[in-house]
């Protein structure tokens, strides 16, 4: 396992041409960065190497080969004092290491905004409004924040990291751009539900959490977050 990971660290991803960032294995056996996989799974829906179709539900259960946050990969970046986050359902996600470097560099330069190519889609991060907006669908926006790396977060770039998880399990989840008014309210409701349950047995609250997570996921999947499939 360690050997495989060491080996992976030396190789380059066929999509971004950089060292693997959260290497993820497709059913055909080809490996790309998690965000690169997300891009091709959403856009061409085919493996970039062999064109084998990627199962439509692949991103619900991606095969991640490396559960170590790979700060070692971003050796060209010295931004560990600050971490950029975007808002998700009941919590904040860390941006992946590369986007974090780009955001921090632009912010330090005094830019008003930063353009990011995330999973094949273009986003503008507005530093004055602290908002991330998708270029081809302006209704898809998320709040962003710059904070210390220790802020409690859901994970990195859609890869959920449970600190008290079972056997290092990593659960990845689709990015979902929330239009601020609707879905964020939904989120708040969910987290209030959870808080109400917090006084009860941990197990129950755990189950409720999982269930509401699953329900939300199913709803959102049918609502479809995929690009080029119509706007809200």
């Amino acid at each position: 396992m360690v050997d495989v990971q060491d080996e992976l660290r030396e190789q380059a991803c066929g999509v971004c041409l950089e060292k693997y960032n959260h290497p993820t294995k497709l059913p055909c056996g080809h490996i790309f960065c998690f965000l690169c996989v997300k891009g091709i799974a959403i856009q061409s829906k085919k493996c970039a190497m062999c064109r084998t179709e990627i199962p439509h539900d692949y991103l619900n259960n991606p095969v991640l080969l490396d559960n170590i946050p790979c700060e070692k990969n971003s050796t060209d970046c010295r931004t560990h004092d600050y971490q950029w986050y975007y808002e998700g359902r009941n919590g904040w996600w860390k941006y992946d290491e590369r986007s974090n470097c780009d955001l921090e560099a632009a912010f330090i330069r005094g830019d008003k905004q930063c353009k990011l190519l995330l999973a094949g889609a273009l986003y503008h991060v507005d530093f004055e409004k602290n908002l991330q907006v998708r270029q081809n669908d302006q209704t898809r926006r998320r709040r962003v924040r710059r904070d210390t790396p220790t802020l409690p977060s859901k994970g990195i770039a859609g890869i959920k990291t449970n600190s008290e998880n079972l056997g290092g399990e990593i659960e990845a989840e689709l990015h979902r751009e929330h239009s601020e008014n609707t879905e964020n309210n939904e989120e708040i409701l969910v987290s209030e539900d959870l808080n109400a349950n917090a006084s009860e047995e941990d197990l129950i609250s755990e189950i409720v959490h999982t269930l509401s997570d699953i329900t939300l996921r199913t709803q959102e999947e049918t609502a479809s977050d995929l690009p080029d499939t119509g706007n809200r």
Binding site: G14, V15, C16, L17, E18, C36, G39, I40, Q43, S44, K46, A48, M49, R51, R98, D102, A105, A106, D111, Q113, C114, K115, L117, G120, A121, L122, Q135
Partner: protein
């Protein structure tokens, strides 16, 4: 404003440091996504000896979508029309983000060696290529001499 994506920087550097024989691609000074390209006509093809200018543009969502490539030099080829547009599957539905500028240009060079009149873009050229290949090849050589050899 927008920093150039690392992948584009990486590809550009490699194109400069390890150029592909017979192909040169130089980014424009004003737009790092726009490349001035020169492809030499392959040996044993009617385009041999010619230097063909092309333009290549990397769209904003590259490499998720394919580069836009066009011949600037006039060329007599069944899969390239009079506007220089190229009929090549990897530039359309067979694009993959694992392909690169260099692989695209190699494919275009290979297309010069292997015209495919059954999938034409320039219909009159393709027609002649099918019914009278030797005359078509003569035309291609003549166009190469006329348009692709005077610097």
């Amino acid at each position: 404003m927008a920093a150039l994506p690392r992948r584009i920087i990486k590809e550009t550097q490699r194109l400069m440091q390890e150029p592909v024989p017979g192909i040169s691609a130089v980014p424009s000074e004003t737009n790092a996504r726009y490349f001035h390209v020169i492809v030499t006509g392959p040996e044993d093809s009617p385009f041999e000896g010619g230097l063909f200018k092309l333009e290549l543009f990397l769209p904003e969502d590259y490499p998720m979508s394919a580069p836009k490539v066009r011949f600037i030099t006039k060329i007599y080829h069944p899969n390239i029309d009079r506007l220089g547009r190229i009929c090549l599957d990897i530039l359309k539905d067979k694009w993959s983000p694992a392909l690169q500028i260099r692989t695209v240009l190699l494919s275009i060079q290979a297309l010069l060696s292997a015209p495919n009149p059954d999938d034409p873009l320039a219909n009159d050229v393709a027609e002649l290529w099918k019914v009278n290949e030797s005359e078509a090849i003569r035309n291609a050589k003549e166009w190469t001499r006329r348009y692709a050899m005077d610097n």
